[in-house]
């Protein structure tokens, strides 16, 4: 366990610390984001190893060096314009300690050296291939190994562990994955705790408790998959981190950077993570940089005085380009991996051939299989509707975004999941039986986070009661900040 901890803290966390500090500034999420960022850099290193040549360690050093220098340069360049957030050190420490404690608690399961089926069949072999260098990796992925198109984040982290400690103990990669799962869940937990930061002392403390409870929920939903080397909790928690920081938290640069980092991590972890990350990235772009809804035309005045619109007004083009940039920048690493797989002729086994079952039959089976794992859906829906109807002002006062963003992210990912099951080539019942409990981890986590976030809204409301729908005058500096956030469009 000490070896895995060393890899996550020193091998991934340390190189990710400066970029995480620049991205998340004084957010408690920094502690959990740094190893996730390290994982992203390792994944990019593995991509370069496969695409260009060389070894993972060599490319990891290069990528980490470039990212750290760029982050430090950005930090120095924006120093004068940086906003000073008034975060109390006690609150910061409380969030870090409590969230850390509650993501560590379920890891006692690592006492049992479990290696899940996919860990044996996919993730550990991929980690070994990455550790083997360019030619071993390229030959193995193109010729022998299953699910070769899966993105490389977790195998790259495992490969770093094998490079440092040897590959005699395969459980090492499983433990690294479990620790990264905890980090991704920690990023979400920090977000939930931060959602209540603008309220009174009691509400702030209760928000930390809610965050801690969510961390336990995340591990409970994932079950054994959280500790036996599967990648599903990692990508789900990372994608949820993108949802919470990018679509729920108040709009600011810090939240955007955390959200983008999480989205990149999800897109580089698994194929489902890629599609979900793209959905979340598009939603974040729509929230932060909405494109103009119409494409205005250039006005032309005729000698008769008649004014007509002709051609295209290119003045709106920068707005569209800005929106496109908000999608392309965080989506680029994931797209690069997909392009690399296409270039190497590595395809996904799920869509290899047609299925003899009809689309309606497959859709019905998929829907009923998925529904069995979404018991929380009606509860979350009821809570969201009641909250939106009666506690909307409290939510706005907490500075949280419109809950519709979160629901669109959840339902879109579910729609993609159903379509995948419908168009896939495997026998539908076998496929559902072997995967649906994992593929529904993301929607389950999103729905649980919705319930917990409304709980935080309740805490905020208790600390600042609304009187007949009118605003209570903000009494403290923090409340005034929250008020300003609530007044800004979400």
């Amino acid at each position: 366990m000490t070896d895995a901890l060393a890899v996550v803290l020193l091998g991934l966390g340390l190189p990710g610390l400066i970029p995480a500090l620049v991205a998340a500034r004084n957010s408690p999420a920094v502690v959990f984001l740094a190893p996730v960022l390290g994982g992203v850099m390792a994944a990019v290193g593995a991509m370069l190893e496969l695409g260009v040549g060389g070894s993972l360690v060599g490319w990891y050093v290069v990528v980490a060096g470039v990212v750290n220098v760029a982050a430090a340069a950005w930090w120095l360049a924006t120093g004068r314009h940086r906003r000073r957030d008034s975060v109390r050190p006690v609150w910061y420490l409380s969030v870090v300690v409590v969230v850390l404690g509650f993501v560590a608690l379920p890891l006692v399961g690592l006492r049992s050296p479990q290696i899940g089926y996919d860990a044996n069949a996919v993730w550990i072999p991929h980690a070994l291939l990455i550790a083997g260098g360019h030619s071993v990796m390229a030959f193995g992925l193109q010729n022998v190994y299953g699910n070769a198109s899966y993105p490389p984040l977790l195998p790259a982290a495992g490969a770093l562990a094998f490079e440092r400690f040897g590959h005699g103990d395969l459980v090492l990669a499983v433990r690294v994955t479990a620790l990264l799962n905890a980090c991704a869940v920690g990023v979400v937990g920090s977000g939930i705790a931060t959602a209540g930061v603008t309220s009174g002392t009691v509400a702030r403390r209760l928000s930390i408790v809610a965050a801690a409870a969510f961390c336990l929920v995340a591990f409970a939903v994932a079950g054994n998959y959280a500790i036996n080397g599967y990648a599903d909790l990692f990508w789900s928690a990372a994608a949820l981190g993108a949802v919470v920081w990018g679509l729920v938290m108040p709009r600011d640069g810090r939240s955007l950077m955390i959200a983008w980092t999480c989205a990149v991590a999800a897109s580089l972890t698994k194929s489902e993570g890629f599609t979900t990350a793209i959905i979340v990235i598009v939603l974040i772009a729509l929230r932060y940089a909405p494109p103009p809804l119409h494409w205005p035309k250039r006005a032309q005045t005729y000698p008769s005085g008649r004014v007509d619109t002709v051609g295209v007004n290119w003045r709106s083009a920068p707005l569209w380009m800005r929106s496109a940039g908000y999608v392309l920048v965080p989506a680029l690493p994931g797209i690069a991996w997909v392009a690399l797989m296409q270039h190497l002729g590595i395809s996904n086994a799920f869509f290899g051939g047609g299925s003899s079952e009809s689309a309606t039959y497959r859709a019905g089976s998929a829907l009923s299989g998925i529904a069995g794992h979404l018991v929380i859906l009606p509860v979350a829906l009821a809570v969201a509707l009641a909250g939106w109807f009666w506690l909307r002002k409290d939510r706005q006062r907490a500075g949280m975004g419109n809950p519709i963003w979160l629901w669109v992210a959840c339902l879109s990912s579910l729609a993609v999941l159903v379509v995948t099951y419908v168009v896939g080539s495997f026998e539908i019942h076998w496929w559902l039986q072997t995967s649906v409990d994992r593929t529904t981890i993301f929607p389950q986590l999103v729905l649980y986070s919705e319930v917990v976030l409304w709980l935080v809204v309740v805490f905020v409301g208790w600390s600042q009661p609304t009187v007949s729908g009118t605003e209570v005058p903000a009494s403290s500096e923090m409340e005034r900040q929250a008020q300003a956030l609530a007044d800004s469009p979400q």
Partner: protein
């Protein structure tokens, strides 16, 4: 009392009730989920589970050692076990020592996992393609 005041008081009372209901529902659903997670974790760390996974872990390490002692490094091999876990496991355990091939044509040896005495009831069988 004016109609606005009456409406306001009703709204405040409704909001209070909704807060209590949301708190109860959220706490109950989170508690139920956490309870199921705790049950799973407790069963994971039970002695029987830990020892059975430790045996499986040692068996894998033993099989990997067996491959390393029987074959020189870099040997091209074909994994001949019937499809499924045995095949995946052999690919995993042989990676970085020997080089698994897509067909027997380029392989020097065919590896398969069979019942035996070497590693807790299993062993690696080698044969020429």
């Amino acid at each position: 009392m004016s109609p606005q005041h009456r409406r306001a008081r009703r709204g405040t009372r409704s909001a209070r009730v909704v807060r209590i209901v949301i708190t109860c529902v959220a706490v109950a659903s989170v508690a139920l989920c956490v309870r199921s997670g705790a049950t799973a974790t407790v069963s994971d760390v039970r002695q029987t589970s830990v020892s059975s996974w430790t045996v499986a872990d040692r068996q894998q390490a033993c099989l990997a050692r067996l491959i390393e002692t029987r074959l020189p490094r870099g040997t091209p091999v074909y994994i001949g076990s019937s499809q499924g876990f045995a095949s995946q496991e052999l690919i995993e355990l042989s990676t970085l020592w020997v080089v698994p091939q897509p067909t027997t044509a380029s392989a020097t040896w065919v590896l398969s996992l069979v019942p035996g005495e070497d590693c807790s009831g299993e062993t690696v069988r080698l044969r020429h393609p």
